[in-house]
């Protein structure tokens, strides 16, 4: 009898095992509930995998870019705005994985552990997301691209707010083209090239090479370089755009002289170049706040002199991610601290009160940043001309990225040094041909808009 009573304690073991299961379940909920609740099979939010019920997406001026009306997702009235903001807003099926609809779907559902999606079901404001993006700036950028594809991103370098971001090709979500998946004209349409694209940088890479030179060659400012239009190493030849003759470091930067920068790159060597590039965020998995970026790549072959020289002038196997390089420009403009471009202004339950904390993506020696800033300002003033960027006190560098079998990509990176317009810009215009015309023109058009309405 007593033994049987004692054996009854086996139930405690069962209870303990059961409670372990309950705790395990509780932990699983705590860890995974946001993912589970915003799964595409959740018919509270999605209808046959398409997002139908979610919070509003607003631009920085309160313009509604997407909202739910009568159980359907409704976008901006203007076709231009819809196309220009496609990659930022995202599609409702989730093909654009970095779009706000897909990437921030948990926040758009207003999900929180305490209330679940109660707020969404009962029209709460906590499911809304306000972007830093100015949809009008996006539309202007989109129109300025004309027939070119490519990407542009504009960021406030003092705060990290991403105020404009466009990727092309794009399409109208209200009028999806039939050939979207088949036609080569829409290749890469589901990719937000600003965050998920990488480009051959061309001459803008000379900014990184210059940074390395400023830090490693003490007398770089007083050096003279010889340019005869081409420059041979033991295993290859670097071709320059022109015969620049004897030039200084700043002149070489202004003229974007391949011979001079090839020599500098060789003098520095692959190792030092790589170390500077990596310090600036190359070869690293970065993210713009929550959104993961495709890695910028810099891998010069130390064994090949020509390869090192080409890498130093932005060709060869060097690739940059636009948002990452924008953050490099942020660092130069902002005294060494390059904030992470952040598209979100407010979101979530207490978003309006808490705001967003800027994150640093790229750090640079403040002295190097100051010297680079001067060089970039000189380049615009002396080479490209301030009349290309009226009233902007622009600092910048153009580039032409040569791609085999295609017309070149026109590139521009820069920032306004006006106190009242702390904006940095990066623009890639694909197949826009030799020269920097297209990218500088598009960048200027967008910055002029901001100058008019924000400065």
């Amino acid at each position: 009898m007593k033994k049987t009573m004692k054996r009854a304690h086996i139930v405690y073991v069962l209870i303990a095992a059961f409670l372990c299961g309950v705790i395990f379940l509780g932990v699983e909920y705590a860890l995974n509930a946001p993912t589970w609740a915003t799964d595409r099979a959740n018919t509270h939010i999605f209808t046959r995998g398409i997002m139908t019920t979610a919070g509003k997406i607003l631009d920085r001026n309160g313009e509604i870019l997407a909202e739910t009306k009568n159980g359907k997702r409704v976008f901006s009235d203007s076709p231009g705005t819809r196309k220009a903001c496609l990659h930022i807003v995202g599609d409702t099926s989730g093909f654009i994985s970095t779009g706000t609809h897909s990437f921030y779907r948990s926040q758009l559902s207003g999900y929180n552990f305490f209330d679940g999606i109660y707020g969404l079901k009962h029209g709460g404001r906590e499911s809304n997301i306000t972007l830093n993006i100015d949809s009008e700036a996006n539309r202007i950028a989109f129109e300025s691209f004309g027939e070119y594809n490519g990407t542009i991103a504009v960021c406030n370098y003092k705060t990290g707010e991403l105020v404009c971001s466009v990727s092309k090709p794009t399409y109208d979500v209200n009028n999806v083209p039939e050939k979207l998946r088949t036609s080569p004209e829409y290749e890469g349409v589901f990719l937000d090239k600003a965050v998920s694209g990488i480009y051959t940088p061309g001459s803008i890479m000379k900014i990184v090479t210059a940074a390395c030179a400023l830090e490693n060659i003490p007398d770089i400012g007083s050096r003279k370089f010889e340019c005869k239009g081409e420059f041979s190493t033991s295993d290859g030849t670097i071709i320059c755009t022109d015969k620049h003759g004897t030039i200084s470091f700043q002149q070489a930067f202004n003229q974007s002289c391949n011979c001079a920068f090839g020599q500098i790159a060789l003098e520095l060597g692959a190792e030092k170049l790589t170390s500077t590039a990596e310090a600036l965020g190359f070869n690293r998995s970065l993210s713009a706040k929550e959104i993961p970026l495709v890695k910028s790549r810099f891998h010069p072959k130390a064994s090949s002199k020509a390869d090192t020289a080409w890498a130093g002038i932005g060709q060869s196997t060097t690739y940059v991610n636009p948002i990452h390089f924008l953050s490099v420009m942020n660092a130069i403009a902002n005294g060494g601290t390059g904030f992470s471009p952040d598209r979100i202004k407010t979101m979530g339950f207490a978003g309006e009160f808490v705001g967003r904390i800027p994150e640093t993506m790229v750090k640079m020696n403040p002295e190097t940043a100051a010297e680079l800033k001067t060089m970039l300002r000189n380049a615009v003033r002396d080479k490209y001309g301030d009349d290309r960027f009226p009233d902007l006190k622009m600092c910048g560098k153009t580039g032409t990225a040569e791609i085999e079998g295609k017309k070149s990509t026109s590139v521009f990176v820069g920032f306004s040094s006006r106190e009242d317009l702390p904006l940095a810009v990066i623009c890639f215009a694909e197949e826009a041909g030799w020269g920097s015309g297209a990218a500088t023109r598009i960048s200027n058009a967008v910055l002029q808009y901001f100058l008019k309405y924000y400065a």
């Binding site: 009898m1 033994k3 049987t4 009573m5 054996r7 009854a8 304690h9 086996i10 139930v11 405690y12 069962l14 209870i15 059961f18 409670l19 299961g21 309950v22 395990f24 379940l25 509780g26 699983e28 909920y29 995974n32 509930a33 946001p34 589970w36 609740a37 799964d39 099979a41 959740n42 018919t43 509270h44 999900y111 929180n112 552990f113 305490f114 209330d115 679940g116 999606i117 109660y118 079901k121």
Partner: protein, 424 residues
């Protein structure tokens, strides 16, 4: 025994009852106000349910003269949640469920009365064993395939699962036959009986219930023998048997292929589990409100998946409260076993608590993918008459152990063992 002999005539349960009634009233108001017009039938059902609780408690106190009604309170709490879920679907479900609760309560009282005397319980073991095997065999012959298993019988407008009723008999047969004489013959008889039950359930492809029976068998065997080695041996043999069966009938394993891979198979084998996780996490801690959930549109949401539905519409807190309620029942069972008048009651209480806890685990952890999905019901809460009657019937075994009934005249086994103890 001292504690149970104290009489506490005042009705202390009253606080619990008032709180529970308030909770159930809130549930009722939520359900009834969800529709535009007040459904009077639902009003009658809920008020009848709450009245039944109070009447049971008051008569209980008057008849037994004590105040130990925690167990019934928990069962009423769980049944009330189940009734609320049914009522939030439609009136028919609610009517059927309230009838099921009534039948469950009657079964509960009936079983309490017949096992009051161990001798009656022992006398009943042969009829119960034969009847339960016959029930399962007839089930196998008459069965209608529902959701891959053959465990339903339809008689006119009623359908029921005989395997649920057999659960109640299984504990009685096990505890009584082993309590009576721990002879080799009684052990062999019991093993044959258990094997035939588990085997028949296997043939019906009701693996979940088969597992519950096997688990209860192990528990009874342990309670009786206390021999851990033998238990391990049985488990090892069973495991080998399971491996053999699966290698001969691979479709059995196929039914569990989604286990731990539900998100890869979320529209096939993992459909129910993923929906439970998706919607239960949508509800947060406080739920979306009765009737506002989406899990209710998924097959079996008021039966097997009811835990997910409760989490989605009433919130994780109430969902987990349901789970902890069962832990409380189990704790009660251990305490009751300690006070029980005979080893028979200790065994029935422990095996009943183990059975409930095990079935609950198979259900809740099955639908949330912690265990393979076997399709068993959540005791007291899932919609369905057989399940409800079985749950209350099993509960009676726990109550019987702790009930302050008079000591039955000592039976043979007690005497025998006392002699043995003395000899030793």
């Amino acid at each position: 025994m001292e504690k149970t002999q104290k009489t506490q005539p005042e009705f202390r349960q009253v606080t619990v009852m008032i709180l529970m009634s308030i909770f159930q009233l809130v549930c009722a108001v939520c359900v009834i106000s969800a529709e535009k017009t007040v459904n009077l039938h639902l009003v009658y059902i809920f008020s009848g349910f709450i009245a039944a609780e109070w009447l049971y408690m008051m008569f209980g106190v008057m008849i037994t003269g004590n105040d130990y009604f925690e167990l019934e309170a928990i069962a009423f709490f769980l049944s009330g949640i189940g009734l609320t879920v049914c009522a939030s679907f439609n009136e028919t479900f609610a009517i059927k469920q309230i009838i099921a609760i009534g039948l469950g309560l009657l079964t509960y009282i009936f079983i309490l009365l017949i096992i009051k005397d161990v001798r009656i319980a022992c006398a009943l073991r042969y009829p119960a064993a034969i009847l339960s095997v016959l029930l399962l065999i007839s089930n196998l012959i008459l069965a209608k395939t529902v959701n891959g298993t053959l465990n339903w019988i339809e008689i006119g407008p009623f359908s029921f699962q005989p395997s649920e009723l057999v659960k109640v008999a299984f504990i009685l047969v096990g505890a009584a036959s082993l309590d009576k004489l721990l002879s080799n013959i009684s052990i062999v008889k019991y093993i044959v009986y258990s094997l035939s039950c588990v085997g028949l359930l296997f043939l019906m492809r009701d693996f979940g219930t088969a597992l519950i029976f096997f688990f209860t068998f192990i528990l009874i065997a342990y309670m009786r023998s206390g021999d851990v080695k033998t238990i391990f041996l049985i488990c090892a043999v069973a495991l080998m048997g399971a491996v053999l069966i699966i290698s001969f009938k691979p479709y059995i394993a196929g039914r569990f292929e989604a286990y731990r891979h539900i998100w890869e198979m979320k529209n096939e084998g993992g459909y129910q589990q993923t929906r439970v996780l998706i919607y239960s996490s949508s509800g947060g801690l406080f739920g979306l409100g009765l009737g506002d959930g989406k899990l209710r549109n998924i097959f079996a949401s008021s039966t097997d998946l009811v835990f997910g539905l409760i989490c989605e519409e009433m919130g994780l807190i109430i969902g987990f409260a349901v789970l902890f309620s069962f832990a409380c029942i189990a704790i009660f069972a251990v305490k009751a076993a300690g006070y029980s008048a005979s080893a028979f009651y200790a065994i029935t209480a422990v095996s009943a608590a183990g059975m409930l806890l095990f079935q609950l685990s198979l259900n809740v952890f099955g639908i949330t993918d912690l265990l393979p999905l076997t399709g068993v019901t959540l005791p007291f809460v899932s919609r369905g008459g057989s399940s409800m009657i079985c749950s209350w019937g099993i509960l009676a075994y726990i109550r019987a152990a702790g009930a302050p009934f008079k000591l039955p005249p000592s039976d043979i086994s007690v005497n025998k063992r006392r002699k043995k103890d003395k000899a030793a």
